[in-house]
C-alpha cells in the first residue's frame, strides 16, 4: 500500500522470510511422512497470511503465486493430492520463488511468478482427473443476503466436504454471541477448532464503523466451517442459533448435488473417533441435577405422561424441571432429555431375543447375572431417548448394570451427562452402574475435557472407572 512507509514494508519482508523458512522446513519434513493434511494445514496458515498481507503492499506476483499454493495445499489437506516428492518439490520451488518475488516486487519491479507457477499447474494437470481440473478452475461464491462473502474453488468445496464433513456458513456477532456471553474471540476460535475445521473467516468491517461513530453494537463474523456435526449439534456446541447457520449446499440451492458428492466420503472421514465437545465444555451442574432428578423420579415409577411427581412435591412438568424459557427452541431438544425420562411412557423396545432388548442401536442383554448395555459407535444427541430408555429399563430390572463402551467412537457432552446422572441416581438407590470391557480413548478424553477427572468423580461420588482409563 503506497501510503505505508518503507520501514513497514521491510518489517513485513523480514516476517515473510520467517514464514517462508518455516514453510520450507515443514515441507522438507513432510516428504515421506504420514501427516500430510496436518502439514498442509500449518503451511496454509502461513501462505494465507502472506497472501493477505502482500495484497496490502501491492505485491501482485507474490499474491498470485501464494494463491496457487493455497489451492494446492487445500487439495493436499483435503486428501485429493498426496504430498509426495513431486508435490513437495513443486511447493518448495514456489517457496523459493516467493522469496525472490518479495525482494523484487518490494523494490518496485513488476515480476511474474514464472516457472514456479507453471510447476504447480503441471502438478495439478498430472495428478488430477480432467473433471477435477475443471472444478479447480471454477469457483463458487458463498453469499448471504446478496453479500458476497467467500469465493471457493469447486474442487475445494468437494474435498473439504469429503475430508471434514458438511461445509457450513456460520454468522456470529462478536458482541452478542461472544462478548455478552463472557467469551473472547480467541475462545470462540478455539471452540470452533475443536468442533470442526475453520476454512475461512471474514469480519464485516464496514458494519463496525469508524472512531467517530459510537462503539459498534455488532461486529458480524462470517465463518466457513466444515464439520461432521449436524446443525443442531453445531448450534449446541457453539452456542449459536440455528438461524445463523446454513449448509453451503443449502445456500447454493443444490442439496441433491451436495449429497451426491458427499456420498463417497465415509472411508476418508477424519473425524471419526473424535469426541464432540463444546470447546470449553464441562458438565453443567444444573443440567446434571435436572437429569439426575428426572432419573430418580422415573425410577420411582411415578411417571404420568409428561408429568412426574413425588409424594412430597407438587407435580412437576417437563418444562419446569428444565425450565429455560430464554433458549432458542432448538436448544430445548437437549434440555428436554432428562425431564422426559419416564419409563412408563417410553416406547416399547424392539425385541432382539428372549434376553435381549434393542433400544435403537443400543443393546440391553440380560442373559448373564448382570444386565449389560452395549453402546454403539456414535453416542450423540440422536440416541438420547433410546439411551435414557435403555438405562432405565436395565436399572428397573437389575441391581447391577454394566455398560460396554468399547465400541464408542463419538460421544457428546449431553450423553455423558445422561450417563453420569443415571449413575448418580442409581447409586443413591443402592444400585450400581459399572463398566464392562475396554474403554476407548475417546470416552476418557471426552470425560476429562468435560471436567470429569478423578477428583471431580470423587466429589460427585461416582465411579471414575466408568469413564476414565485407569
Amino acid at each position: 500500500m503506497a501510503s505505508l512507509n518503507d520501514t513497514v514494508l521491510s518489517e513485513f519482508i523480514e516476517d515473510a522470510r520467517e514464514h517462508l523458512a518455516s514453510a520450507e522446513s515443514d515441507l522438507l519434513e513432510a516428504e515421506g511422512g504420514a501427516e500430510h493434511a496436518e502439514t498442509a494445514s500449518k503451511i496454509l496458515d502461513s501462505v494465507r497470511y502472506l497472501k493477505g498481507a502482500s495484497s496490502l503492499f501491492g505485491l501482485r506476483g507474490f499474491k498470485r503465486l501464494s494463491g496457487r499454493m493455497e489451492l494446492v495445499l487445500e487439495l493436499v489437506r483435503g486428501e485429493a493430492l498426496a504430498l509426495e516428492k513431486e508435490a513437495v518439490d513443486a511447493l518448495l520451488a514456489s517457496v523459493d520463488r516467493l522469496g525472490e518475488l518479495l525482494e523484487l516486487e518490494a523494490a518496485g519491479d513488476s515480476v511474474e511468478p514464472g516457472a514456479a507457477e507453471d510447476r504447480l499447474e503441471e502438478l495439478l494437470v498430472l495428478n488430477l482427473p480432467m473433471d477435477d481440473l475443471n472444478r479447480a478452475a471454477r469457483t463458487r461464491t458463498v453469499s448471504h443476503h446478496e453479500r458476497e462473502l467467500f469465493e471457493i474453488a469447486e474442487i475445494i468445496l468437494d474435498v473439504t466436504e469429503s475430508g471434514f464433513g458438511t461445509l457450513y456458513l456460520l454468522r456470529f456477532d462478536l458482541i452478542a454471541d461472544v462478548h455478552r456471553k463472557g467469551l473472547t474471540p480467541l475462545s470462540l476460535i478455539r471452540k470452533m477448532s475443536e468442533a470442526g475445521q475453520i476454512i475461512d473467516c471474514k469480519i464485516d468491517i464496514e458494519a463496525v464503523g469508524g472512531l467517530a461513530d459510537s462503539a459498534s453494537r455488532n461486529i458480524p463474523l462470517y465463518v466457513l466451517f466444515a464439520s461432521n456435526l449436524d446443525k443442531s449439534a453445531i448450534a449446541a456446541t457453539l452456542d449459536i442459533a440455528t438461524k445463523d447457520l446454513w449448509s453451503v449446499q443449502e445456500l447454493f440451492g443444490n442439496d441433491s448435488g451436495g449429497s451426491a458428492r458427499r456420498s463417497g466420503s465415509d472411508g476418508r472421514n477424519k473425524e471419526s473417533g473424535k469426541a464432540i465437545l463444546p470447546g470449553e465444555g464441562s458438565i453443567d451442574v444444573e443440567d446434571l441435577d435436572a437429569m439426575e432428578k428426572a432419573f430418580d423420579l422415573a425410577m420411582q415409577g411415578k411417571g404420568r405422561g409428561n408429568e412426574v411427581s413425588t409424594e412430597d412435591e407438587e407435580p412437576v412438568s417437563v418444562e419446569s424441571v428444565t425450565a429455560d424459557t430464554d433458549s432458542e427452541p432448538e436448544e430445548t431438544v437437549l434440555r428436554d432429555i432428562p425431564a422426559a425420562a419416564d419409563p412408563v411412557s417410553a416406547p416399547e423396545p424392539d425385541r432382539g431375543g428372549e434376553d435381549v432388548e434393542m433400544f435403537g442401536k443400543i443393546k440391553v442383554d440380560r442373559s448373564s447375572p448382570e444386565t449389560v448395555i452395549t453402546l454403539p459407535a456414535n453416542v450423540t444427541v440422536e440416541v438420547a431417548v433410546p439411551l435414557r430408555d435403555a438405562v432405565l429399563s436395565a436399572l428397573n430390572r437389575s441391581d447391577t448394570v454394566a455398560v460396554d463402551m468399547s465400541s464408542v467412537e463419538r460421544l457428546d457432552i449431553t450423553m455423558l451427562q445422561v450417563l453420569v446422572a443415571a449413575q448418580k441416581s442409581a447409586g443413591s438407590r443402592g444400585k450400581t452402574i459399572q463398566r464392562v470391557g475396554d474403554i476407548s480413548g475417546t470416552v476418557d478424553r471426552c470425560a476429562r475435557m468435560a471436567g470429569l477427572d478423578e477428583e471431580r468423580m470423587r466429589l460427585e461420588e461416582i465411579e471414575a472407572g466408568l469413564f476414565l482409563k485407569a
Binding site: 512507509n5 496458515d45 471474514k202
Partner: protein
C-alpha cells in the same frame, strides 16, 4: 495508559494494557483525537497487550476504518502470538499490518 509519539501525519501509540471493554472508550477518544488531528499513518504498539476481547477488536477495526478513510493505514506492532494468530484467522491481515512480537 497510552503513550503517544507523533511525527507529522504518523503516530505511534503504545498501549500499556490489554485492549478490552473496560478501557476501550478512553482509547477510542484518544485515537479519534489523533485522527481528527490529521494522523493518517497509525501504529499501535501492543507490546504490553496480552488480551483482546470483542470490544477491543471492534476498536481496532474502527481505527483501521478511520485511517483508511483518510487515505492512510493501520499497523499493529509487537502483537502477541495468540492475538496475531487470532487476527490472522479472521483474515484481518487483509486490511491492516500485523507484526508479531519478537522473542525477548
Amino acid at each position: 495508559m497510552a503513550e503517544v509519539t507523533r511525527q507529522g501525519s504518523s503516530a505511534t501509540v503504545l498501549i500499556g494494557e490489554d485492549v478490552v471493554a473496560s478501557m476501550a472508550e478512553d482509547l477510542r477518544t484518544e485515537l479519534r483525537d489523533l485522527v481528527e488531528g490529521g494522523v493518517t499513518e497509525l501504529t499501535l504498539d501492543l507490546i504490553q497487550t496480552d488480551m483482546l476481547d470483542s470490544i477491543g477488536m471492534g476498536l481496532l477495526i474502527s481505527a483501521h476504518n478511520s485511517v483508511r478513510d483518510g487515505g492512510g493505514g493501520l499497523r499493529l506492532v509487537n502483537v502477541s502470538p495468540d492475538i496475531a494468530g487470532l487476527l490472522r484467522s479472521m483474515r484481518l491481515e487483509n486490511h491492516f499490518i500485523i507484526e508479531e512480537r519478537r522473542d525477548g
